[in-house]
């Protein structure tokens, strides 16, 4: 038990990423407001970024710039951070596109609640 706890404490960024991921997924699946859904998506994506970046980090590691005069013993892995830059770009474009769709939804339905929108569609269909 103690061993397990120690492992969790050492790897606390992973734990944080896991908890945040669960929060994000729950928000996306249970909230009917489009903005809350979008925020959930963003939380979820950020925690995947956290997972990657913390995987590349080493405690006490140095900036990964090679200095041949006095080489450092430990360098941080720069690749995950570089990958996550791409990930952030993707996430921003998804958010922008979703906001554009929300504007269209609001213009045609007058609400940002997906449950209300569903009800309105159902009433139209019944007529």
């Amino acid at each position: 038990m103690k061993e397990l706890l120690e492992k969790v404490v050492i790897n606390y960024p992973y734990l944080a990423a896991g908890i945040l991921f669960a929060i994000g997924v729950l928000t996306v699946l249970t909230r009917s407001n489009v903005f809350k859904k979008l925020i959930g998506i963003n939380i979820m994506e950020s925690c995947v970024f956290l997972l990657f970046v913390s995987a590349g980090n080493i405690k006490g590691g140095n900036v990964p710039i090679l200095d041949t005069a006095n080489p450092k013993p430990v360098y941080v892995n720069p690749l995950p951070s570089a990958l996550m830059l791409t990930g952030i770009v993707v996430s921003v474009s998804v958010t922008a596109f979703a906001l554009a769709l929300i504007i269209r939804l609001y213009n045609s339905y007058g609400t940002t609640d997906l449950r209300r929108i569903g009800e309105m569609d159902y009433e139209v269909k019944k007529k």
Binding site: F21, G24, V25, V28, V34, K37, L38, I41, M44, E45, V48, L51, F52, A55, P80, L83, T86, G87, V90, S93, V94, F97, A98, L101, I102, R104, L105, S108, Y109, L114, I117, D121
Partner: protein, 498 residues
Amino acid sequence: MTAGLKTNLPVFIVVIPMFVAFMLPTFARRIKWIEGTVAAVKLLGLAAAAWLAHMVLYEKDFPVKYIMGGWPAPWGIELVIGNLAALFILTIAIVSLPVALFARDNLEKEVGPKQRIARFYVLYLLLIGALAGMAITNDLFNVFVLVEVVTLSCCGLVSSRKGHGAAKAAFNYLILATLGSALVLGGIGFIYILTGHLNMEFASAELGRVWQSSPHTVWMALSFLFVGFGVKAALFPLHVWLPDAHSMAPSPASALLSGLAIKGYIISFMKILYVIFGHTLMQEYGIYRILILIGMVAIIIGSLSALLQKRLKRRLAFSTVAQVGYLFLGLGLANKEGLMGTLLYLVSHAVIKSLLFLAAGAVISATGKENIRDLAGVGRKMPIAMGTFTIASLSLIGLPLLSGFIGKWHLVLGSLGAGDILSVTVIIIGSILCAAYLLPIIRIAYFEPAPEADWQDPGLPQKAALILLAAGVVLLGVLPGPFIELAGRAAAELLLIQ
């Protein structure tokens, strides 16, 4: 010159559509120019795909590894041009050319004014380029980026339809698809944490060494990737976004989404499963059984839900859910015939389903009616649209001499090879259900009296597109030689059989 063209061909197939896509909005006012450019790009793409397939089939030194930017693996991005890539790129070219032809002069009703049509073509070309990229890339992070490009362009294509229903469908699709991509990225992250590699082959070799010391992380990676790709490929319990998105999109876009986009995800998932995890790990973790089980459930439930739909495009969309079940079933059979079945069924379903959606789109836009009940007698007034629809339906059911039969035949052979009688039964029941939901449409269209209405076949480019795709359906059934050869070699490669 020719040698340089030949070595760089795979990159051109991916980059040229993307490059042209971003040039199109500069002459958005001249729709004729845009349509001409897109047609030219697609013709070039078809020629390039045919050349690539020919090289892969008849030259000795394939599969070839292409190193991007001169950085060798594992540092740089590697592209693998093998049988699987050639097969999928050929499929993309075969399907996307008629779709572009069908969209000609036909988008104003569904999409709107010129500016919007220009954007439609931008998304169309981005989708094609990214799908080709998914087929050839050998790098995990590259897979994620291409998955995102495909997802965003698909959502854009859905939302390009006029009216508020499309915006709602696109929003729901976007949310669920982004959930899927976050899961895919998480899965890729776990693989990277375990192995330290993003190149698929290096990751696979490293995973073979380390998986026993951290079995739970492998579980996490597998389940994240399974659910992520499952959402994107509309695997049964995760398919909720599909019927709305595919039935709301403009007809050419529906054809692309149902025919090609889903297949791209399945090809990527197949590569990740078989190249990275490999046979031993998949057997150890029992993935095969899960794949077969979910595939069977998807076939039955998808077909039954299709049977209950009253609107034409929704019925076709639910039919896609059922056919995705066949593809996953074949992935789980774990023998050469089963994988060949998946690949061949993937190719034939791409052609068939795009033809079905295009013909349905032509019928709906001519009659203005979406319910199947209201389409009485449409077959005699629109012989070409309904005739090609009939050919595609018969092929999807799996009649011999049409393309759907070959895929199903190999799936049955694979199930028999795996000793799985239950899945043989499910495949046959699926075919019967498929007949049960497609044949009534044909019966109503041909054998019921037509109302007095001026329904006519669509214009010349649309007719040509439908006939081209129908010819493809028949040709794939009569002369499947090169496709079977490519699929067989790709399956052997994935299973590491010499």
